[in-house]
């Protein structure tokens, strides 16, 4: 069966078997990755996969499946099994029907670059130039990944939706190590090769590793902090995840119950924008077929909206924000609006504080309150009178996410899209400037 035939076949088949509503998404994804460490390629990988996801609703029972056996018989068996499961399942208490199309979808510029699937050996050249750039900038060992994806998807729903799209992405992360624990990190990513700059990612990683060569033990305390873009992306990935109404309703989000409340400083504006140019999470339609757009999550520090699919929207008596996920609404591209200060001006505003380039292993003590801690790495520097004076190590950021949002004092005027391994809440990308936060808690181990 051809890719475009799969989703209509599933929807027709499901309805014929007695389902009330069916949605199906067929995807062909070919991804290629080059991994490297110690200035050498460690492995190259290619994944070529076709799979179909299906949502079936019957008598207010909700079922989903993902299958890779896409013959006529394979699909029919999956549908029969789902319908059989529906008969044994209990009814959903917040049931909502699928959105009714047809819809018109916005064309997102630059969503597909046909050079990306053809990179092949060229991707090794990119890796080589990133490594050389990191070493030329003073680093000693470069590690990282180059990931290039090429996907085509077809969505059909019984709500009169027929949508399809093609997309490419490219993402490179370079981590450079110098002496002992000294390290730096750089990221470059997008949907086209337009702004893709492996040398700059390598340069940033190498430069920070070099600057970190003489590390001094950090001291516990409360500091004014400038969060680098990679660190900020780690935190706003969580804001993206926790703004999903699924997590809000589950009771495991520190944004729960705060709609309309001031949760951040006046300057903070956060969007989810699935139509962002070069956005790794950009898509013209969500999994229910709704046309995507921009949703303001935080504006002037006030929590304006959660992210919804049709189920959560009905429960919250609002409209879907076109962030479906059939079960769980999810962020697409989180965008933190730029501020007014140059990076120099931002640093000048810190008399005695820290710059933190990356946060890893962010873990919550209390999801509802937002208490968490995270390790710092890849460039942690003391700032005195607006200048970086020394590199420090061993600091753990221990604070509260909402308190940190409230104590943001300023943001730099240049934002950059970031995606990296430690963004554990699954937001595809965060575009963020540098952020200055007051009075952030840091600790060190005591034995």
């Amino acid at each position: 069966m051809e890719l475009e035939e799969i989703s209509p076949f599933i929807v027709d088949g499901g309805l014929r078997l007695g389902a009330d509503e069916v949605a199906a998404m067929a995807i062909h994804n070919t991804s290629r990755q080059v991994r490297f460490a110690n200035n050498e390629v460690t492995v190259t990988e290619t994944w070529d996969e076709v799979r179909a996801g299906m949502l079936l609703k019957k008598d207010q029972r909700v079922l989903t499946a993902s299958i890779s056996e896409l013959s006529t018989e394979g699909i029919q068996k999956a549908l029969k099994d789902l319908v059989g499961m529906a008969d044994l399942m209990a009814a959903h208490k917040n049931y909502a029907p699928l959105p009714q199309g047809p819809f018109r979808y916005q064309t997102i510029q630059g969503l597909y670059d046909d050079r990306i699937p053809k990179l092949q050996e060229k991707s090794v050249d990119y890796v080589e130039s990133a490594i050389n750039s990191a070493l030329d900038s003073g680093g000693k060992r470069a590690a990282g990944t180059l990931l290039a994806t090429d996907s085509e998807s077809f969505l059909t729903t019984s709500g009169n939706v027929q949508a399809n799209g093609k997309k490419t992405t490219i993402n490179m992360v370079v981590r450079c190590l110098s002496n002992g624990e000294s390290s730096g990190m750089g990221v470059t990513c997008g949907t086209t090769l337009g702004d893709f700059d492996p040398e700059e990612a390598g340069r940033e990683a190498g430069r920070l590793a070099k600057m970190s060569e003489r590390l001094k033990p950090g001291r516990s305390g409360s500091y004014d902090v400038i969060l680098g873009r990679i660190a900020s992306a780690g935190l706003f990935d969580i804001i993206g995840g926790m703004s999903s109404a699924f997590y809000v309703d589950s009771g495991f989000s520190c944004l729960a119950g705060k709609l309309g409340e001031k949760i951040g400083c006046d300057e903070i504006v956060v969007y989810d924008d699935a139509t962002a140019t070069e956005g790794l999470g950009s898509t013209p339609f969500d999994d229910e077929g709704c046309p995507t757009g921009r949703t303001t999550i935080i504006e002037d520090g006030i929590l304006r909206s959660y992210l919804h699919n049709s189920f959560t929207a009905r429960k919250h008596q609002t409209k879907s924000t076109a962030n479906a996920g059939w079960i769980n609404p999810r962020a697409s591209n989180i965008i933190v609006k730029e501020g007014r200060l140059s990076e120099d001006e931002l640093f000048k505003g810190v008399k005695d504080g820290l710059y933190v380039h990356n946060l890893t292993y962010i873990r919550f003590q209390d999801y509802r309150k937002g208490d968490f801690s995270a390790s710092t790495r890849d460039g942690v520097f003391r700032i005195e009178d607006g200048e970086i004076t020394e590199a420090v190590k061993g600091l753990r950021l221990s604070d509260n996410l909402i308190r940190m949002l409230r104590d943001i004092t300023s943001l730099s005027k240049e934002a950059k899209q970031i995606s990296h391994w430690w963004m554990g809440f699954g937001t595809p990308s965060v575009k963020t400037p540098l952020i200055h936060v007051k009075n952030v808690g840091f600790t060190v181990p005591t034995k």
Binding site: A37, N94, E121, F364
Partner: protein, 476 residues
């Protein structure tokens, strides 16, 4: 698709690969999810595909596909060989694999009660009964408004072949339960995360007694909120319960002993290690501490008899009486170290390369009974379960925040204390242990590593352990 796996290996060799392997890997899994009493969704995931790995002129390449199409298999093998060759120019030293015994074997875990013999209605009802039990204020004496309950059953089948002549066929059923609970009281919350998992059939669920277990955990949250007092700070003796000590075995002994981390292969993602290859034989813990990783523990969540490179599994003694003893190896890292693989290569699906992973990591028990641990403490805290856990990527500096915790005064357990925070280094922790009790309790978990991330089922376990003279402190 077995013939495509065989074909891929032969074709890769024809194209000049020095070594080739293929793994036909299928995962069939059912999932049932209940949120705050609502049956959100049930469904399944059925995936099958072939993962190929080739070594050409010292360059390593992995490729996967999931359609039964010989032309596609050909295309993917060709590209893998081509990319392996291309990668060699950004390498100083060719990759090689350790020499291992070639095995032809078939093994499986036979469930006493296969999942399909239990009706879906019974499974949904079980989740519903757990939900009712933990949300009933009469039963648990607490308000638990936030509840996510999930039951996952899966069967993994693999057909592994390589160009050295190995053929290994396996089948493993796995079942797990995951529960998130949050209790509220006067604006304060306490959360708990429960996970059970075994490589067995439905009989495991029956033995878990999930309703009683979840009820107890919910009840405890209420007690913490109502009676928990501020935890002491400063230098103190602790007893760390099975759950937290087991997690520490996984996070601060298992991960830093993964040889690929030691050699820097994961530097940009999961990170490296404070352990270096020169540290074999170095003492970093007290003599009481022996940590093993063992894939062959019967019924365990991380159970296997052969790893995803075809190497026979065995118990690995990572730390022996406080001394760094052995790392976790696949064939690549074993060749780098000049040793044999100890079968730690695991892959989470057909589309993931096998990398160095743990299976079931645990501290071997001691010879005390729990009361003796308590009797040895004049003033301290017993941290039975944990809430937050975080560690740096070298696995050196960690923090955890206690959940169910009790004050110890004059050699007796007293009332509950809230959120003691321990921030300590791995050697600091391992060298502060002075006694372990006879118990050994395992917890199931999914361990994350690799890029793309590969979540794999593991157990971690430990006895209750006593640690001397550490600091409770931290902020938040």
């Amino acid at each position: 698709m077995r013939e495509l796996a065989d074909f891929a290996v032969h074709y890769a060799r024809e194209l000049g690969a020095d070594y080739a392997e293929a793994r036909l890997h299928s995962d069939l899994g059912n999932v049932y999810l209940m949120k705050n009493g609502n049956p959100e969704v049930a469904g399944f995931r059925r995936e099958q595909g072939v993962g190929i790995r080739v070594l050409v002129n010292g360059g390593l390449s992995f490729a996967s596909f999931n359609r039964p199409d010989k032309n596609l298999a050909e295309e993917r093998v060709k590209e893998a060989v081509r990319m392996a060759k291309a990668s060699v120019r950004v390498m100083r030293k060719p990759i090689s694999l350790s020499h291992e015994k070639v095995v032809e074997e078939k093994w499986e875990v036979r469930p006493r009660t296969p999942f399909q013999e239990v009706s879906m209605r019974e499974k949904i009802e079980l989740l519903s009964d757990i939900d009712k039990a933990v949300s009933s204020p009469d039963e648990v004496e607490a308000s638990v408004p936030s509840r996510i309950l999930q039951l996952i059953e899966s069967t993994t089948e693999k057909y592994f072949v390589n160009s050295e002549g190995a053929t290994i066929i396996s089948k493993v059923p796995r079942i797990s339960f995951i529960g998130f609970l949050a209790a509220h009281e006067k604006g304060e919350t306490e959360q708990d995360y429960i996970q059970k998992g075994e490589s067995r059939g439905w009989e495991a669920v029956e033995e878990w007694k999930l309703i009683d277990h979840a009820k107890e955990r919910a009840k405890t949250l209420g007690k913490i909120l109502k009676t928990g007092r501020k935890a002491p700070k400063g230098k103190i003796d602790l007893i760390l319960g099975n759950q937290i000590a087991g997690l520490m075995a996984h996070e601060s002994t298992g991960h830093p002993y993964e040889a690929d981390r030691i050699f820097g292969r994961e530097a940009a993602q999961a990170g490296e290690s404070f352990i270096t290859k020169e540290m074999i034989g170095k003492k970093i813990g007290s003599e009481e501490v022996t940590v093993v990783d063992d894939p062959t523990v019967k019924n365990s969540y991380g159970y296997y008899l052969y790893d995803d490179e075809g190497t026979p599994a065995r118990r690995r003694f990572l730390m022996k009486e406080g001394i760094v003893n052995e790392f976790l190896h696949n064939r690549e890292t074993a060749a780098q170290m000049g040793v044999s693989s100890n079968a730690a290569a695991r892959s989470s699906g057909f589309n993931r390369e096998p990398i160095v992973r743990m299976a079931n990591t645990f501290i071997l028990p001691g010879d005390h009974v729990f009361d003796e641990l308590v009797e040895g403490i004049r003033f301290g805290v017993y941290i039975k379960t944990f809430g937050e856990w975080s560690i740096d990527d070298r696995r050196y500096s960690m923090r955890f925040v206690g959940r169910e915790c009790y004050l110890i005064e004059n050699r007796e357990l007293k009332g509950m204390v809230r959120h003691p925070i321990l921030e300590i280094t791995t050697p600091g922790f391992c060298s502060s242990i002075d006694a372990l009790d006879k118990s050994l309790v395992f917890e199931a978990a999914y361990c994350g590593k690799g890029d793309p991330d590969q979540a794999i089922p593991v157990w971690h376990g430990a006895p209750n352990v006593r640690v001397r003279g550490v600091h409770l402190g931290g902020i938040v």
